[in-house]
């Protein structure tokens, strides 16, 4: 069994929407800066829809792929749609995950939900990404 799905491999080798928006409408961060995977999203939201989105990430290959697929799926989606994502949805976006990799699906779901919540509540995460 291959370690990663072709989608995961595609996204961690050719990540989409990498980087950081200047003056984003919302900024969401999730992760453990000391030893775990970290994802930061910046997005512009227009009429409840994600109009532009970027990520920065530091972590295992699967978590980088997760950040990439999440931005791709979020682009053009409504905040309501994103809020409905569960771990399974993120895993499906990734084309499946080995059991010992499932935690990255939760990470993707969490950072996407946080983007929605932060936008709704008008707050921003400013936890900096740390290369640890």
């Amino acid at each position: 069994m291959p370690r990663y799905s072709p989608t995961v491999v595609d996204h961690f080798t050719n990540p989409r929407n990498a980087g950081e928006l200047d003056d984003p409408d919302v900024r969401a961060f999730i992760g453990n800066p000391v030893c775990g995977d970290q994802i930061m999203l910046t997005a512009r939201v227009t009429d409840g829809t994600v109009a532009e989105i970027r990520f920065r990430a530091h972590g295992c290959a699967a978590s980088l792929a997760t950040a990439s697929v999440v931005t791709e799926a979020a682009l053009g989606a409504t905040l309501g749609e994103i809020e409905a994502w569960d771990d399974e949805r993120v895993e499906a976006l990734l084309g499946g995950l080995a059991p010992d990799q499932r935690h990255v699906a939760a990470l993707g779901r969490q950072v996407a939900h946080r983007l929605v919540t932060n936008h709704r509540e008008g707050v921003d995460d400013d936890a900096p990404l740390i290369c640890a």
Binding site: V9, C35, R56, H58, A61
Partner: protein, 406 residues
């Protein structure tokens, strides 16, 4: 398969054989001589313990292999004990010595924090069996000071176990100096030579117990040997038949042992070949030069004597495991930490023991070229690594280091 470096197809995982294999410290391909010997060994039916021609044929094959291994281990044929690999050799050396010590006083064992887990866990088992254990720390280069060994010795020290070269950094330890210190105190010295056997000479090491594992020197997996010097008392872990002088029961792995012996003989030829010796160093130099293009790198173990085949580099801003996965997609096989702990999230115990911060330890990757690795291969691998590093750093925090040529 190797992707031509100009046309990567990163969206497809590589299939088939490895492209550029730079993970010889994890395991090496089986050389032609060893393959032939294993095949020959499988055509020998008898059990070496049997009293008939079929048995004698097996026994004779085993004994010539023992002589070949003795040449590698620089000892008498009778001192060679065949085992089911390097880990078993380590377990037999450490636990076997402790179990054989007379049980009236607690015994003391000294080891180092950079040992392979087979030694460290065997020491932990020895501790469960009642032994006291001292674990020495290396210096910042990953080198064990013989004077630290001297200071740690106690009247009840029965064994010191310090590896010949470390599997993550390649740093070579001063075994013969340590042997002098240990023997002066009347204790035994074990050295795990799994990483050095076949790469550098084991002659004159002075250790009483020496572990090797065939698959690290182009022999088959699942077979190893322990040199047990005359007079050393060991208690076996696997008991029953009187094979291997009673130190390792069980029908001997005839094909595996023959394969190991053939690989040992081939390795000794390479050791004597000046062209091959020059090549090892050339390959390392090119690899390191190529990797330096990534900028902001640190060689772990720098400044200490080391095996040219093992190059451990930390790339600031990149996780080692991630880089390994990205390079794997490009058909380049390297490792982060040792293979047996690949997949664990803990930073390497070896690098941590050297005082390297967790962040730098997590960004370490081990490149281990081998006998057939060409300069071209390491040049290509380094270029691809630099490329991957650039991309990965670009995903991370703003202002991360960029390749020096960018």
């Amino acid at each position: 398969m190797t992707h031509p470096s100009s046309v990567p197809s990163p969206s497809q995982p590589t299939v088939g054989g490895p492209g550029i294999y730079l993970d010889h410290a994890a395991t090496s391909p089986v050389c032609r001589e060893a393959v032939d010997a294993v095949l020959g060994g499988m055509s020998i039916t008898g059990n070496p313990s049997s009293r008939h021609e079929a048995g004698d044929e097996a026994k004779d094959a085993l004994e010539s292999s023992r002589t070949q291994m003795a040449a590698l281990l620089d000892c008498a044929a009778d001192d060679v004990v065949f085992t089911g690999g390097g880990s078993e050799a380590d377990a037999l050396a450490v636990c076997g010595t402790v179990l054989a010590a007379d049980g009236h006083r607690p015994v003391h064992v000294i080891t180092s924090a950079i040992e392979h887990s087979a030694v460290l866990e065997s020491c932990a088992m020895a501790h469960e069996l009642g032994a006291e254990i001292t674990i020495l720390r290396p210096d910042g280069r990953g080198w064990i000071d013989p004077e630290d060994v001297r200071r740690a010795l106690r009247p009840n020290t029965v064994l010191v176990s310090v590896m010949h070269a470390n599997n993550e950094t390649g740093v070579i330890q001063p075994i013969s100096d340590i042997a002098a210190v240990v023997h002066e105190a009347g204790a035994l010295l074990h050295t795990d030579a799994v990483q050095t056997a076949g790469k550098i000479s084991l002659a004159g090491l002075g250790a009483d117990l020496v572990s090797v594992s065939a698959h690290k020197f182009y022999g088959p997996k699942g077979v190893g040997a322990l040199k047990v010097a005359p007079g050393v008392r060991l208690s076996p872990l696997i008991r029953g038949g009187s094979q291997e002088r009673g130190l390792r029961a069980g029908t001997e792995n005839v094909p595996g042992v023959l394969g190991m012996a053939a690989a040992a003989t081939a390795a000794l030829h390479h050791l004597d070949d000046p062209a091959h010796q020059a090549h090892r160093h050339t390959v390392r130099a090119h690899l390191l030069k190529g990797l330096e293009e990534a900028g902001d790198i640190a060689v772990n173990g720098e400044g200490a004597p080391c095996l040219p085949e093992t190059l451990n580099v930390s790339f600031t801003g990149v996780r080692g495991d991630t880089l390994v996965d990205v390079l794997a997609v490009h058909g380049i096989c390297v490792s982060a930490g040792s293979a047996c702990h690949a997949g664990s999230d803990e930073p390497s115990h070896v690098l941590t023991a050297m005082g390297i911060p967790a962040q730098r330890a997590r960004s370490a990757v081990r490149f281990s070229p081998g006998r057939t690795t060409t300069v071209d291969a390491v040049t290509t691998a380094a270029a691809r690594t630099v490329d991957a590093i650039g991309k990965l750093r670009a995903l991370g925090p703003a202002g991360a280091p960029q390749p020096s040529h960018a």
